[in-house]
């Protein structure tokens, strides 16, 4: 389908708006690639509503303007899971809060969440950018249970606060929490960087490499050795990870 500009020069994108308050969660593996498809194809896109398979049009009002790889999720998407799963390019903007597993396995592109993010954000992320204007919860940039590596690249920024388990088994990329965070920041970290603007709990447990920068208070473990900049460890794994006070 030919790309056409709008006559008024406005933005081109796909806009989805929930048709009603969802009773149970919706699983919609929506990526910006969807915006390139025809309106009919988009309407038929399969999503899960509880145990029922539905079409996107059953649950969302769909407005398509052009083929640009940009999706606006307009409304409360806090019950919608797996947004941006595996995306490689383009942009998703959530004008509200978003559900769990947002940005899982992300390889590129950008997700902006204007509200809050739920658990399991940017899990096993490889590249790309996730920005949360509100707060996030637990499990950010971690591996799914039993997998060996968490975030490998890209950038996650939380403007507000976050919960527990951030950057577990991280090997690359940057996670920045501007507010406070919980426990287990950078547990078993191998590389990459985590920045905490506020206070947090236990940092760097069993860290092998990488850098954690903390502005506020945090709980340093006894298995770390003091250095000029902060601490190095975790001695329990012969690690050379750095914790730096900023």
């Amino acid at each position: 389908m030919d790309k056409k500009s709008r006559e008024d020069g406005g933005e081109m994108m796909l806009i989805l708006k929930p048709k009603f308050d969802f009773e149970v969660s919706v699983e919609a593996e929506i990526t910006p690639d969807l915006a390139e498809k025809s309106l009919d194809e988009i309407k038929e896109f399969k999503v899960w509503y509880g145990k029922e398979v539905k079409k996107l049009k059953d649950l969302f009002e769909i407005k398509k303007e052009g083929d640009e790889k940009k999706i606006i999720l307009d409304g409360d998407f806090s019950k919608v899971k797996w947004i941006g799963c595996g995306m490689t390019e383009g942009e998703i903007i959530v004008k509200g809060s978003v559900g769990t597993n947002c940005g899982a396995y992300m390889k590129g592109g950008r997700i902006i969440i204007e509200g809050d993010a739920d658990d399991l954000l940017g899990m096993e992320m490889m590249d790309g950018e996730i920005i949360v204007k509100g707060n996030a919860k637990n499990l950010i940039g971690c591996p799914y249970y039993g997998d060996a590596t968490g975030m490998q690249g890209g950038k996650i920024v939380i403007e507000g606060n976050a919960g527990n388990y951030i950057g577990e088994k991280m090997s690359g990329g940057v996670i920045e929490i501007k507010g406070n965070a919980g426990d287990f920041i950078g547990i078993e970290m191998k590389g990459g960087e985590i920045i905490i603007g506020g206070n947090c709990g236990f940092v760097g447990a069993d860290m092998k490499g990488g850098v954690i920068k903390v502005k506020g208070k945090c709980d340093i473990l006894p298995s770390f050795k003091r250095t000029e900049e902060g601490y190095v460890g975790d001695v329990n794994v012969g690690g050379e990870g750095k914790i730096i006070k900023i």
Partner: protein
Amino acid sequence: MHHMLWIKNGIVIDPKNKIDGEKMDIFVKNGKIVEESEVKKDECKVIDASNKLVVAGGVEMHAHIAGSKINTGRTMRPEEMRVVRQTANKLRATVGRVLLTSPAIGYEYARMGYTTAVEAANPPIGSLHTHEELDAIPILDKAALPVFGNWHPVLKFVAEKDFEKLKAFIVWALERTKGFGVKVVNPGGIEAWMYGKNCRNLDDEVPGFGITPRDIITSLIRANEELDLPHSVHLHCNNLGNPGNYQTTVESIKLAAGFKNDKRQVLHVTHVQFNAYGGSSWRDVCSGVEDIAKTVNSMDNVTIDMGAAIFGHATAMTGDAPFQFVLHRLLGAKWSNKDSEIEGGAGIVPIMYLPKNPVHALQWAIGLELGLMVDSDKVVLTTDYPNGGPFTEYPYVMAMLMSKKMREKELEKVHQYVQKATNLPAIDTERTLYEVIHMTRSLPARILGLENKGHLGIGADADIAIYNINPNEIDPSTQYEVIDKEFRRAAYTIKAGDIIVENGVILKETWGRTFWIDARSKASPEIIDSDLNEFFNYYSIKRRNFGVKEEWIRNPERMGVR
């Protein structure tokens, strides 16, 4: 269920009855193979097996498919369980990469044309759990082998050289656990592990008992043979997983000398691949198969199974607890352990076999060497699932055994270390279909003492597999891809006369029988009654609550002894 079946014009390979590629009809009635005269042909359900291979259903004689350590393996490896095989419809959903859920185990064996499976190592106090899991496996007939080699009563009676009590204990234990035979895992070594040690050599002392693995193995063989149980002692040798261990294996095999049984072997040594390493360290480790094969081939009363390694994911799970700890240290992997009362133990460690890793390539080659160098009447095809890899790769192993060309191609993809460290590249032997069917059907059935399994003679259980292979036209040496493909998906799998699989698709879910050995006619547990009461002081449950009642098992099948 179809009351009567007529499998027409199939090309039968039935080594037990010396049938090698004969076109013949098979008749089934009431779950048994019968004479033609027994059926009313016009009432039969007819299966047109023209140009197809007809064989007995496969017999899995050693796999870890049910019980506490299998379940802990699943629990600790969600990365394994995430692979989805089939979504729920009329049948159960099935998941698992190499580790599988119980329904998946039943379906996957059945699709491959296997109809009987034996759990290789049952911790006696956990028998009820083992039977619950066996009963969650659909379709197959099954059994479980309780472990004896580190059980305190065994160690005590061996120390006292009291064979009457040892026999009585075996009989009592098989009845209580509803077990099928005498399994021995690293005899003495697990007891030693309770002290942080191991028994790697046959003459190492078992702490606290003043006996050796040699004593345990020979005593159990003697007791087993005096009882003349259907299956022989089934041994997981000491020193598993260590370079140079082939010598321990050869010595262990020789312990069978002097014993004789007219129906079967007196010693079955299991997953020999893991016990067939030469050299002295991981730097010079090489194949020890030559000596082992020579020894086994020279004896007429010993059998083995391969324990072949398959490239890809696997999980090491055995009753060999000290070995599992060593593996955890070697690999830096997660590790589960379960010391069990006064009976033994178990351990679990995730592993992966990579073709470009010299040691893994060696292990892979050794498994195949065993299948090629040991007489085909003495070696059963296994991967010691899930230790060596998935049982669903048996067709790959079968194809490899039958084709030098396929082996040459595969050898190009693996680390060149195997060129100098094993004989595999030089082996020209190509097994025939007859031999490979023997190694997967009639031989394991004979080894287990299951007279009605593994063959298609009159009176056999109607467990039959039909494949889209014409044995009289196919050349396995060059058509290895066809072999590998077709043995994965049976054209038909018939279980107890019921058509369960068609074209590799499960049609229905049925429930098989659980075989157990009742040898109480041979020895009465009376003579060990007070000993047992003594031992139960060391248990954490009461004697009256130890064991499994038949009525708790879905379809128990009690086998008496001759």
